[in-house]
Symmetry: C2
C-alpha cells in the first residue's frame, strides 16, 4: 500500500512543486497509490511523519519525507519498475539537477507568481505562506511583487542550459522521461496551477517539452486544471 | 591512431579548460593518444579542421571539434571501453552539466584569474586572448580585474549544487568518475595551472574531490605543474 501526502489548497487545487515530482515518479514506476491533500498550515495531519513538510510517502511501514529521498526510496524499493535515474551516473547527476533546480530555478520564479499563490489557499494558509516566503527572501511580498519583471527575466535566463539540452532531445532523460523531467515539470506545473501569467514564450523549447510531459502517464498533469480554467469552472 | 590538439602556452604549459576535458576522457576510455600543443593565435596549425578552436580530435580519417562533440564521439566509437556517461539518462544530464558549467562556472571565474592567464602565453597570444575576453564580457581587462573579489564569491556560490552533490559521493559519476567529473576538473585545472590564487577554501568538499581527480589515470592532472611550482622550476 502506497500513500502520498501533498499540499491541497482552495477548491482542492494541488500546487506543490515538490509533491508533483513525487506524483510523477510514482506513475513512472507504474505504482498504484492514494493521495491525501494537506493544507499548508495543517501540521496535525502530518504529525505522524515526525516533521512538518510534504510530500510524505508511506509504503507499508516505511515513512519517507523529502521529494529527493522519496525518489531514491522508490528506485531502490522497486528496482524492476522503469528506472527514475538510469543508473549510478544518472542518479548522481539527477541529484545535482535537483539541487540546482531548488537553488536557482524555484527562488527565481517565486517573486513572479507569489501573489497568485496566496489566492490558491485559505486565509490562514496564506498568512503562513507569506511568513515562509518573506522569511526566505528577507523581503516583504510587496517588495517582491515589485521585482516581478526582473524575476521572470532571470528565470528564463537560468533555464538556458535546460533549453539547449531540450533542443536536442525529447526529454531530459533522453528519448524517454526520467526523474529530472519530473523535477523540472514540478516547477512549471506549480506555475501553471497557481497563475494565469505567461512564464515561457510560446516558441521556447522548454514550453514544447512541458506539453509532452503533461501528456505522460495518461495525462496525469492535465488532470489538474490550469488556473484560468479552474476559475471559470468555479464561476460556472 | 588518435591525436589531440590543445592549447599550449609559455614553457609549454597546458591550460585550456576544454582540452583537459578531452584529455581525461581519452584516458578514461583507456586510449593511447598523441597530444599536439597549439598557440592561441596559431590558426594555421589547425586549419586542417576547418575552424579555429581547440580541442580537436583526429581519429584515423575523422576530425572532431568541440569538447562535447569529442566526448560523444569517443563514447560511440569505443562502446566497449569504460562509459563516459553511464547510459542515455547520464548522457543527457551530462550535456546539461556541460552547458551549465560553460554558462555559469567558466565566466564566473574568468575575471578572477584573467591577469594570470595572460602571463601564461606569449605576447601575441596575450593580445589575442585579451581581445576575446574583452569582447565576451564587453568590459576591459582592467575593469574585470576590479571585480575579482566579487567574481570569486560568485564562483564559489554557483558551485553550491556541485558541493552538495559531492558531499554525498566520491565523484559526480557516483562511486567512479564520469565525464561530468572531467568537465568540472577542466575548470579547476585551468585555475591551478594559470594562477597561484586560492580558488576553493581548503575545507570545501569540491577541493577534496579535485585532489581525487588529480590522482586519476596515473595522476595525469598532476603531470602539469601548478603555477607556483612551474615558476620555481623556471627560476631554478
Amino acid at each position: 500500500m502506497l500513500e502520498l501526502w501533498e499540499l491541497g489548497g482552495r477548491r482542492d487545487c494541488r500546487f506543490s512543486t515538490f509533491s508533483w515530482r513525487s506524483r510523477l515518479a510514482l506513475h513512472h514506476k507504474r505504482l498504484a497509490f492514494v493521495v491525501h491533500p494537506v493544507a499548508v498550515s495543517d501540521k496535525a495531519a502530518i504529525a505522524f511523519s515526525g516533521q512538518g513538510k510534504v510530500p510524505i510517502l508511506r509504503h507499508d511501514d516505511h515513512v519517507v519525507t523529502d521529494s529527493w529521498a522519496i525518489a531514491r526510496y522508490l528506485e531502490r524499493a522497486f528496482p524492476d519498475a522503469p528506472s527514475l535515474f538510469g543508473g549510478p551516473v544518472g542518479e548522481s547527476l539527477t541529484h545535482f539537477f535537483n539541487l540546482w533546480a531548488d537553488r536557482e530555478l524555484v527562488p527565481a520564479i517565486v517573486p513572479y507568481l507569489m501573489r497568485d499563490v496566496l489566492d490558491c489557499v485559505e486565509e490562514a494558509d496564506a498568512r503562513h505562506l507569506r511568513g515562509q516566503i518573506e522569511g526566505f527572501f528577507k523581503k516583504s511580498l510587496e517588495e517582491l511583487a515589485g521585482e516581478r519583471g526582473k524575476a521572470l527575466e532571470q528565470f528564463r535566463r537560468r533555464l538556458q542550459p535546460v533549453r539547449k539540452t531540450l533542443e536536442q532531445r525529447r526529454f531530459l532523460g533522453g528519448d524517454a522521461p526520467a526523474y529530472a523531467d519530473h523535477i523540472l515539470f514540478g516547477v512549471l506545473q506549480w506555475a501553471r496551477v497557481v497563475s494565469s501569467a505567461t512564464v515561457l514564450e510560446p516558441n521556447d523549447a522548454v514550453a514544447a517539452w512541458f506539453e509532452r510531459v503533461l501528456d505522460l502517464y495518461d495525462s496525469e498533469g492535465r488532470k489538474e486544471l490550469p488556473r484560468a480554467a479552474r476559475m471559470q469552472e468555479a464561476a460556472a
